[in-house]
């Protein structure tokens, strides 16, 4: 425990920040007020260390109805419908109590979506752990997955996709990011604004307890060995309560009686109240006595800062209090008036008739300082980049061994049974991914595809980030994350529309970390610009460090795309024997940062693949054209693990093998495992070949590389495997590692 007589330190503020507060207020804040500043000016709520950099994101576009600034972004999808989506991290809570940490992360992001007036229709989760050889990592992994399942399944929102990667850098500091997507009609779009002087302010849902007090400041600190000791009371999620809250809130929004609605997430009541007031340029007066409490003897500080889950703050028009209560009581939920909207811009808090805090809402919500942290290229950057991969296999040796000695089948097997490439069915089979009966392309393919009931269109959803790339080259890694997400959407038959981002980094006070942060954002921005997929919101999670150091920079891209017709829905699996297989794009000698290097040689090194955004765009456009024309039977983005892994993954779905012959001057390793970007493997009926070639024209490079055939995957004279056997190994790789 910190021993200090500087009250701001307990709240996680600096002396300078404390002096700013005194200046802004014109007096010293009292204990409760200082607590309010502590959470509102924490990194988690104020984005003080990231705001300036985040401004570089392209946030506008014809589809954007709501960019960053609200609980979630909103885009137009035609037919008077809109999509709300956002990603959120729950890394530190999940490190301490993995089941509840992950569960409440899911609960939080779902609330963000229905707060906007949208019905949540899908979840995705992006997870990072240390390798599964460690007992504690196994525990974290199992519990995080169970927590996501426990919450998402119960509330009835399907978890349709996500990604899971393993690396030592996440040992002890797992990343748990969840994304939620909701649909709504335009007229139901709601905002988190407090307006209308005299309108009642109501809290609805769960009673307030002492859960997770100061969770926001906790999230803004590094994990240490003591974290388990001085953690705030852990929040426990109640998906049942949230299901009721979701239904009641959407019913309430439909009545049109609401002026504003906001979920209570990090920093609880004080955060929701001050943000709503600040947006509306109004004030809010609250009475602590009126807040329904779960525990006795809670003081103002605790009530204001509690992070009890499954609560919302709603502001109906005056006179509609009864309607709100009526709807909530139908669902057996609390609804209590706790205050009202005022015209003086103040957050004023009363307790037992006494004023315990009075601070301008704007200062709390918007006037946190903004820092531009020092940034410095880390030493490892040039060193790792210049690693000479050819030194791993001299040309001479290679030529000799190429035919006989090196068993590429074994190499492929090692790669596909590595945690990163292995089947993730162990995870997604624990998630209800079909509830709501919209899931047309199930998890296991590039992007999930959902139908939109009553319309002939669909949604494609994905999250992506190769953090090995981002570590070796954060700028290009950021670009590739966006490009790959878009490629996944395209392969599934969708047009990429927009992204949300989950930016997970180490301590921003370290110049090398801040450099990673800046560069990643630069890369993401550039790719979003080029691919016309604006950023509609996201989340920043800093301080992801453990005693060994920072996590790999992990800027997760969550992308949504639209299928103009549902019939465009395409998966990655070969369909019919005799179909031709075409590689769109061309393989180069690019093994830097690859899965091959990691799995086979134990290196995370080298120059990561090039990315030419113009070329990327053309490949994607061509692929989508072909899909729309009805020629494409399967399409699969070629990425982690390279062409061999891509072909394997296309074979396993329907147990259809392939016979591949590629002319190439590349080394065998490069041909099979190089991770060159802007490549897609498609299959099509033989008789469509000419029309397909005509359609492609000379817009992009492509090559017919073989045909769907038999039950084996054969690539030149290098690979020859029996699909079913390897599929079993691939499926069992993760469960086997978990056996104690």
């Amino acid at each position: 425990m910190n021993q200090t007589n500087k009250p701001w330190e307990i709240e996680g503020l600096t002396e300078q920040e404390y002096n700013m507060i005194v200046d802004l207020l014109g007096r010293e804040p009292n204990y409760t007020e200082l607590g309010m500043f502590g959470v509102m000016w924490s990194e988690h709520c104020s984005y003080k260390n990231s705001k300036a950099v985040l401004r570089n994101f392209p946030t506008e576009g014809e589809v954007v109805l709501q960019g960053p600034g609200e609980n979630a972004g909103i885009i137009d999808i035609g037919d008077n419908q809109a999509l709300s989506f956002k990603i959120e991290s729950h890394n530190h809570p999940s490190a301490i109590e993995p089941y509840q940490g992950a569960a409440t992360g899911v609960g939080g992001i779902i609330r963000d979506i229905f707060t906007m007036g949208a019905r949540p229709i899908a979840l995705l989760d992006s997870l990072r752990f240390g390798f599964l050889d460690d007992e504690h990592v196994k525990y974290l992994f199992e519990e995080v997955v169970a927590g996501i399942a426990g919450y998402g399944n119960s509330i009835g929102v399907p978890t349709v996709g996500g990604e899971t990667y393993f690396s030592n850098s996440y040992q002890g500091n797992p990343l748990v990011n969840a994304m939620c997507v909701g649909v709504m009609d335009h007229e139901d779009i709601s905002t988190a604004t407090a307006s209308g002087i005299g309108n009642p302010v109501m809290v609805v849902g769960a009673a307030t307890g002492r859960d997770g007090i100061q969770g926001a400041s906790f999230a803004s600190d590094e994990l240490t060995d003591e974290s388990e000791e001085d953690r705030p009371a852990v929040q426990v999620g109640d998906p049942f309560m949230e299901k009721l809250l979701l239904e009641a809130s959407l019913e309430l929004i439909k009545t049109g009686c609401l002026v504003g609605i906001q979920d209570m997430g990090a920093a609880g009541l004080i955060s929701s109240a001050s943000e709503m007031a600040s947006r509306g340029e109004t004030g809010i007066e609250l009475d602590i006595d009126l807040v329904p409490k779960r525990e006795e003897g809670m003081n103002s500080y605790e009530v204001l800062l509690s992070e009890s889950q499954e609560r919302m703050l709603v502001i109906p028009e005056a006179g509609k209090e009864d309607l709100v209560e009526q709807i909530f009581s139908k669902w057996d939920l609390n609804a209590a008036v706790i205050g009202e909207v005022t015209d003086d811009g103040m957050i004023r808090v009363l307790n037992k008739g006494k004023k315990v805090a009075e601070v301008p809402a704007r200062i709390l919500a918007d006037d946190a300082p903004e820092y531009k942290r020092e940034s410095k290229e880390p030493d490892y950057y040039n060193e790792l980049k210049s690693f000479d991969i050819d030194s791993l296999f001299s040309i001479e040796e290679n030529r000799l061994t190429r035919k006989d000695d090196i068993d590429y089948n074994n190499i492929l097997e090692s790669i596909i049974t590595s945690e990163n490439i292995a089947s993730k069915s162990y995870i997604y089979e624990q998630y209800d991914h079909m509830v709501q009966i919209n899931t047309v392309v199930l998890p296991g393919s590039d992007a999930a595809v959902l139908r939109i009931k009553g319309k002939d269109k669909g949604l494609a959803l994905t999250t992506d980030c190769n953090s090995r790339y981002c570590y070796l080259d954060p700028e290009r890694g950021g670009e590739i994350a966006v490009a790959e997400a878009a490629r996944n959407i395209t392969c599934s038959g969708g047009r990429p529309l927009a992204i949300t981002d989950g930016l997970n980094f180490g301590n921003p006070m370290k110049p090398e970390i801040f450099w990673q942060f800046e560069k990643s954002i630069k890369g993401i921005s550039k790719a979003c610009q080029a691919l016309n997929t604006p950023v509609t919101g996201g989340n920043v999670s800093f301080y992801n460090e453990n005693p060994e150091g920072a996590v790999y920079p992990t800027p997760i891209v969550g992308m949504v795309g639209l299928l103009d017709k549902l019939e465009y829905a395409t998966d990655q699996f070969f369909k019919n024997i005799g179909d031709l297989i075409i590689l769109l794009g061309k393989t180069e000698s690019e093994l830097g940062g690859s899965q091959y290097l990691e799995s086979i040689h134990g290196h995370v090194k080298g120059r990561i693949p090039e990315l030419d955004l113009e070329k990327e765009k053309k490949i994607q456009e061509t692929c989508l054209e072909l899909i729309k024309a009805g020629f494409v039977k399967s399409a699969h983005d070629c990425s982690d693990g390279g062409l061999a892994v891509t072909l394997f993954e296309s074979s396993i779905g329907n147990l259809k093998g392939a016979d591949i012959k590629i002319e190439s001057n590349l080394k065998a390793e490069e041909l099979l495992f190089s991770e060159t970007q802007s490549r897609i493997v498609i299959s099509l009926a033989r008789e469509d070949k000419e029309m397909v070639e005509e359609l492609i024209g000379d817009s992009i490079e492509y090559q017919v590389i073989g045909e769907v055939k038999g039950e084996r995957l054969k690539i030149n004279n290098l690979i020859d495997i029996y699909i079913e056997e390897l599929k079993t190994k691939w499926e069992e790789a993760i469960p086997l590692k978990l056996i104690k």
Binding site: A146, A149, G150, N153, S154, I155, G156, D238, P239, F240, M241, K243, L244, K330, W331, D332, S425, Y428, E429, Q430, Y431, D432, H433, M434, V435, Q436, I437, T439, V440, L442, R451, K453, L566, A569
Partner: protein
């Protein structure tokens, strides 16, 4: 024809059922809130999947006491057709309309995937459009679907031909249920409960449409009954 679908707090497949019954089979439905009684003369009552009362305590245990259940029990006792899917099945057992109980899946985990099933009794209102031993591919999604019944109860199920649906074999059995049982009916054949979700397999755009036959059976039985 009109079906009633009961919504319990925490039900989450109620709207899926409504969609399939109304949009795919064009049968009128009423959504019945669990605090109400059955008011109309329904041809069938459907209890949907989900997590009624959060599945707290035991799945279906608290929902079984929802006010609506008294009239559902009356309806069933008078021979009305009642279909319980997943959580609906669990509620029917808790309510005593079907025998047995659910334990947690053998691997203790929630499981969501398509499984192969086999029809064991096609002489019920819910399966008459199917062949005996016909194989169906329908998804399951549950954590407590490990059907248990004691030996005497099992014998009775067999003697009365109440085992309607089984998982095809041990490796298709996702939960460890006794004798691979996936769905059973009562002695009078008017109450049917099953763990798999036929409503998730009733449209061609979804991965399987094998679930359709269950609804078709029910509807055709009702139509012929009327004639």
């Amino acid at each position: 024809m009109r079906f009633g679908i009961v919504t319990f707090p925490g039900s989450n497949c109620d709207q899926d059922l409504r969609y399939v019954v109304e949009e795919v089979f064009e049968i009128k439905t009423d959504m019945i809130w669990h605090k109400e009684d059955l008011e109309n003369n329904y041809n069938a009552i459907l209890l949907p999947g989900g997590f009624s009362y959060g599945d707290y305590l035991r799945s279906g245990a608290i929902a079984r006491f929802s006010p609506v259940m008294d009239s559902v029990i009356d309806f069933a006792n008078q021979g009305g057709l009642v279909l319980g899917i997943c959580n609906g099945f669990q509620i029917l057992m808790e309510a005593g309309l079907l025998p047995g109980a659910m334990k947690v899946n053998n691997n203790l985990k929630f499981v969501c995937k398509h499984v192969k099933l086999q029809i064991k009794n096609n002489q019920t209102p819910f399966t008459e459009k199917l062949e005996r031993d016909q194989i169906l591919n329908i998804p399951v999604a549950h954590q407590e679907g490990n059907f248990y019944i004691d030996d005497r109860g099992l014998d009775k199920l067999k003697v009365n031909d109440q085992i309607v649906l089984k998982y095809l074999n041990d490796s298709e059995n996702p939960n460890g249920s006794i004798e691979n049982i996936a769905g059973i009916c009562n002695k009078k054949r008017n109450v049917f409960g099953l763990m798999p979700h036929p409503e998730r397999a009733s449209e061609d755009i979804l991965s399987s449409s094998d679930g359709k036959k269950i609804f078709e059976s029910l509807i055709s039985f009702l139509k012929e009954g009327v004639n």
